[in-house]
């Protein structure tokens, strides 16, 4: 326990004892509103379909994750200094996110969960700059928001691509898969994923033997670009990495390579913030609470991030014994440590407001490993072996 935390705890303990003793003449309770902002027709949540219009992956906004967090707060009512509620705000498009947040902010909401695509962030950051607001990014991994945008009103609860890819490469290196073949897709997301992966490989001493640019399809004239066997022929490698957000090509890669090698990235071994089969650190209970809340859906990374964001807001009030926004913000960005059911205690990085967290390496039915992988050491916190550490960060909110 840090001293500040210890002091806060001691004060809170006294405060809660007093509260219970004098419950009858207590002043009216504070109320903390949390906005959940998503975007209509966000393409990130379009179902992924097979050629025959069969749905391969249904994807859903993580509102149910936030609701699970709110339910947990309800159980803490007696010891919390405030009541909490969630308001879902759905913007018509990415450009409508900033005005929608401003309206709610002016009406007194200071905490927002932002479930919006990358292009919503820059106008949003400009609109709220300097205001008393914390925006919790719960679904966008784009590194640019942590680097170029670098806005102090944001907290990135969802892991950055850099964190996700570092975790994946740590695992590959720990298995001695040092020679990696990269299949790079055509979209900007694929390019960002490939760039992050390449950077991680350099960081941890793996080698990219080739970067093959695929083109999804069945056209025989383009078979050099759409056939995983041809794309992987003529060279040896330890594992093949696929960056394919559209998923159409990725699903054709396993079992079709020129050599029998594992596939990582967009399929088979995926690097994720959360997985429904994680069974350590109390995860089964969270997964089953989410399952009930969402009507039978598996909890995914954004759901987890939305749950954690609400938890961070509630925890800050619990630990400091106050619903004063400035104090809550001070705790969350400062001494606050949080339990996200991934083992190591999480906290917010001072330099870019990214949440430090473990990354799960998940096969379809098993979490194969959790990063940081044993042996990857750091001088202060092993979680900082994942993503942009202070010295290499392009963002310095702490300075």
């Amino acid at each position: 326990m840090s001293n500040i935390y210890r002091l806060a705890l001691a004060l809170l303990c006294v405060a809660s004892a007093v509260t219970i003793a004098s419950a009858q003449d207590a002043p009216p309770r504070a109320h903390v509103k949390i906005g959940f902002v998503d975007v209509e027709n966000d393409p990130r949540y379009d179902p992924i379909r097979a050629y025959e219009r069969i749905v391969l992956k249904t994807r859903a906004h993580p509102f149910a994750g936030a609701e699970v967090g709110l339910d947990e707060a309800a159980a803490l009512t007696r010891v919390l200094p405030a009541d909490f509620s969630l308001e879902r705000i759905t913007a018509k498009s990415a450009v409508d996110v900033a005005p929608a947040v401003l309206v709610a902010l002016d009406a007194g909401t200071h905490f927002f969960l932002i479930d919006a695509p990358a292009d919503a962030f820059t106008p949003l950051a400009a609109a709220i700059r300097g205001r008393d607001v914390l925006l919790f990014n719960v679904s966008e991994p784009d590194d640019a928001q942590r680097r170029a945008l670098c806005a102090r009103e944001f907290i990135h609860v969802y892991p950055s691509r850099a964190q996700l890819m570092d975790g994946l490469v740590q695992y590959a290196v720990s298995r001695k898969w040092r020679d990696l073949l990269v299949f790079a897709g055509p979209s900007t997301t694929d390019a960002a994923m490939t760039a992050a992966f390449t950077h991680s490989a350099q960081k941890f001493g793996a080698r990219i033997v080739a970067e093959a640019h695929f083109k999804s399809g069945t056209d025989p004239r383009e078979r050099e670009q759409n056939d995983p066997a041809l794309l992987s022929a003529g060279r040896d490698f330890d594992a093949a990495f696929v960056a394919d957000d559209a998923f159409d090509f990725a699903r054709t890669v396993p079992y079709r390579l020129a050599r029998p090698r594992p596939v990582i990235g967009s399929i088979d071994l995926e690097s994720v913030a959360w997985h429904w089969t994680w069974e350590r650190n109390g995860a089964p209970q969270v997964n089953s609470r989410f399952d009930r809340k969402s009507g039978g859906r598996h909890m995914e990374g954004p759901d987890w991030a939305a749950w954690v964001a609400v938890k961070m807001i509630v925890q800050s009030a619990l630990r400091i014994g106050s619903a004063d926004f400035a104090k809550q913000r001070g705790f969350i960005l400062g001494p606050g440590t949080f339990d996200g059911d991934k083992g190591l205690a999480m906290s917010v990085r001072a330099w870019d407001h990214q949440l430090r967290q473990a990354i799960l390496l998940a096969a379809p039915f098993e979490v194969v490993a959790d990063a940081p992988i044993e042996g990857f050491l750091h001088q202060t916190n092993e979680l900082d072996t994942l993503g942009d550490d202070a010295p290499e960060s392009a963002c310095h909110l702490d300075k």
Binding site: M1, C13, T337
Partner: protein, 322 residues
């Protein structure tokens, strides 16, 4: 069905009144749905008892004729006849019972239902839940006060310890402790509760009269990382002088001097040590290593592990029939 019921009654009538002091060691295995019984002299496995799914916390009745086992995936507490080592009954609980405490006088079980976020109060005679007390999310450790009036329960996800009035079933006090509180030990003088806070890597000490945290003890075995220090199980000697705390992923047991709250030393055990039990003569400590699939037997005088015994998949708890 009727034949079965009659057989059950006959079995009850014929059971010996006392079966204690066999010294046998019982280990519950979460993933193989069995209890392993180990001979205390040879450390050989002498029995493998099939029980309902996911057995976890275990407690003997005061006379040691019965062993109660919380079985998380079948929502029951199995009742074993210790002499015959057979399951002779099941008490229904709420969803996913994990830990529990027995109040023999009132013939009640207090069961933390991990999935239901409640403490179930089970009437042992009527085999029914007489009350469900809502708790913070993921309740775990349960402890009944010496006079049976207060039940303490931790909420893992709520970072709370609740004090519940046993008669009214109402939460009367709450105290916020470290991250992910798991289990309890009460000092024999009745003054303090020791609570393991798994993610804070410490034991928090709660003054029972004032119900506030008055101190905490941090752990760090030599060569281990702070992040791996995840205390869960703990036990105390009868004189209230020494406490033993399992440190989870740090694979050690901490030995603590209770009056000064100083760590006296660390004993190496297996992977993810949770369950811990002291023998009656306090010469031997048994530790269940959840991810090592074995238990470690420790000599408390030399503070060294004597032997480790393979037991099955994901051992949760250890108890000794003595």
């Amino acid at each position: 069905m009727r034949v079965f019921a009659v057989a059950f009654l006959v079995a009850l009538a014929c059971a010996p009144a006392r079966a204690n002091d066999t010294g046998l060691i019982f280990v519950s295995n979460e993933k193989t749905n069995n209890l392993i019984v180990i001979d205390p002299k040879t450390y050989k496995v002498v029995d493998d008892i099939k029980v309902p799914r996911r057995p976890r916390d275990m407690h003997f009745s005061a006379d040691h004729t019965r062993l109660y086992v919380a079985c998380g995936d079948d929502d029951v507490i199995a009742v074993l006849d210790v002499a015959t080592r057979k399951v002779i009954g099941k008490l229904k609980t709420g969803p996913s019972p994990e830990a529990f405490a027995i109040d023999e006088k009132r013939r009640r079980l207090y069961v933390s239902d991990e999935e239901g976020s409640s403490l179930a109060v089970v009437d042992m005679e009527r085999d029914s839940i007489v009350r469900e007390v809502p708790t913070g999310a993921e309740p775990e450790g349960v402890l009944v006060s010496e006079d049976g009036k207060i039940v303490y329960v931790t909420s893992e996800a709520g970072d709370l310890v609740h004090a519940i009035d046993a008669d009214s079933g109402k939460v009367v006090r709450d105290v916020v402790v470290g991250l992910r509180p798991r289990r309890f030990a009460a000092t024999p003088d009745g003054k303090d509760l020791w609570v393991t806070a798994e993610l804070s890597g410490e034991v928090d000490i709660v003054n029972r009269a004032r119900f506030v945290v008055t101190g905490s003890i941090a752990f760090l075995p030599p060569g281990m990382r702070k992040a791996d220090v995840t205390p869960v199980g703990l036990t105390m000697t009868a004189d209230g002088k020494t406490a033993y705390v399992t440190l989870g992923h740090a694979a050690h047991v901490a030995v603590v001097d209770v009056p000064t709250r100083k760590v006296l030393g660390y004993i190496l055990v297996g992977k993810r040590s949770w369950g811990i039990t002291l023998s009656r003569d306090e010469k031997t400590l048994y530790v269940a290593n959840g991810l090592g699939d074995d238990i470690t037997v420790i000599d408390t005088k030399s503070r060294k592990a004597k032997i480790s015994v393979p037991v099955g998949r994901v051992p949760y708890g250890v108890v000794v029939d003595e």
